[in-house]
């Protein structure tokens, strides 16, 4: 517990141990006052109010400690701030585990690519005709092998992508941009797919919509994932609706609605989980890795937005996300 100037008033034994210090040395002093130069590694604030993470080098064994501190302001009866009470949690072990997980995923995915690429090149050289002509059945089965290696590659890309997003290792290039431009780009990209299924796409853009703060490439990824899903689950001859509108709180709401099979309440919750797949996969479908929506969720949340789905069995689904207006 500290006073309004940040000087320590109270400290329990657990806090002493965590900060490897003595209560006597800290009382009436600022909490981080006797840290030597360079001992502090980083101090970052979480999105959540009153929570921050402190990283510093421990004095006795030169290891980096990560401590999460959740704080609440203490006010007197007149509503004046008199101090602050902080609960400290040692996150060092968890941080190490997270780092190990990331390293593991990165290593494994890179190690996967080497054998995949050797198989791909061997198949490609046969399919190119360079090794001699092949009959129809040979062509067909090599094409199946090729297609499935592409699927494996997509899965690796998505896994790497998601692990980086979860670790906040993605550098975002945020600028003022119009989501409508991104929508136009993506609908053009999926144009042939839409035409092949005779799907109509309706765009209902709010006139004079303010621009949004976003990394256009990342939001393109979100819209690509949402539209791909919508197309996948819309029957031939069906329709899609992409809508934009401004909502309270300086936000812009973007929604992608399909006329597909819809989802139950339970499915609506699970749909943002990793590897969750709805319905049966067709053999030629290489687009689904089960990671599209978790990736979309991470990206939207990195922008300070929210993503959710409204759906009813048999009535289609509507995926909605928000972005801060510029």
């Amino acid at each position: 517990m500290v006073d309004k100037k940040g000087k320590v008033l109270l400290m329990n034994p657990a806090a002493e141990k965590l900060l490897d210090t003595k209560r006597e040395d800290k009382i009436n002093k600022s909490l981080l006052s006797d840290l030597k130069d360079g001992q502090m590694v980083s101090l970052s604030k979480d999105g959540k109010r009153g929570t921050k993470t402190v990283e510093y080098e421990s004095t006795d064994n030169e290891t980096i400690k990560t401590i999460k501190s959740s704080s609440a302001v203490v006010q007197d009866e007149n509503g004046h701030t008199v101090g602050m009470v902080s609960v400290l949690t040692d996150m060092t072990k968890q941080k190490e585990l997270d780092q190990m997980k990331t390293n593991f995923i990165n290593t494994v995915t890179h190690e996967f690519r080497t054998p995949i690429v050797a198989m791909q090149k061997s198949i490609q050289v046969m399919l190119s005709g360079a090794t001699g002509s092949m009959n129809e059945a040979q062509n067909k089965f090599l094409a199946i092998a090729k297609r499935n290696l592409e699927r494996l590659n997509l899965l690796i890309d998505d896994l790497l992508n998601l692990s980086k997003l979860e670790e906040n290792k993605i550098t975002m290039d945020v600028k003022e941009y119009s989501v409508e431009d991104v929508i136009e780009d993506i609908t053009e990209t999926v144009g042939t797919w839409i035409t092949s299924k005779s799907i109509t796409i309706n765009k209902e853009f709010e006139p004079n919509l303010p621009k949004q703060k976003m990394d256009p490439n990342r939001i393109a990824q979100v819209l690509n994932n949402l539209l791909s899903n919508a197309i996948k689950f819309t029957p031939e001859g069906g329709s899609l609706t992409v809508r934009t509108k401004s909502v309270v709180g300086g936000l812009v709401e973007i929604s992608v609605a399909d006329s597909g099979i819809g989802m139950s309440e339970e499915e609506c919750v699970k749909v943002f989980d990793k590897f969750y797949q709805i319905g049966e996969r067709t053999t030629t479908d290489i687009t689904g890795t089960g990671l599209g929506l978790p990736i979309a969720k991470e990206i939207v949340e990195l922008h300070g937005g929210k993503i959710w789905v409204e759906s009813e069995k048999g009535k289609g689904s509507r995926f909605i996300f928000t972005l801060p207006a510029a």
């Binding site: 690519r113 690429v117 050797a118 791909q120 050289v125 190119s128 360079a130």
Partner: protein
Amino acid sequence: MDTKISILMIDDEEDFTEPMAFWLRSKGHEVSTAPSGEAGVEAIKKTAPDIVFLDIFMPVMNGVETLKRIRQVNEDIPVIMLTSAVVENVQEAYSMEELNKLGVSGFFKKKDSFEELARLLEITLRLHKNIKRPESE
């Protein structure tokens, strides 16, 4: 592409270089391979090929180190970097600035098609018009 050229492929993965070399030879090019950066530099010292394909991720001497050594013996030879990752990851691992200073003609993602490879070769050859032709031409 009608130009027949000599190519050196430096990569520790033989299972990758074999089908690559087979396809390039089927297009009439002369292809030799080197399983390490060290062996690649030695090969260039003996006979300089028209184009070098160089793997970025190799044990012992990686692609960037190898390229530095190549530039010590040959400043002009066009080099195309081979990468199994997506290009953005390469940018993360090695600064593009460093690679550009060493003179890289392009990147080939190993998973990409032979059509893409042919396109990249064509562009590189156009940019290096002074490339010598093998004597058989």
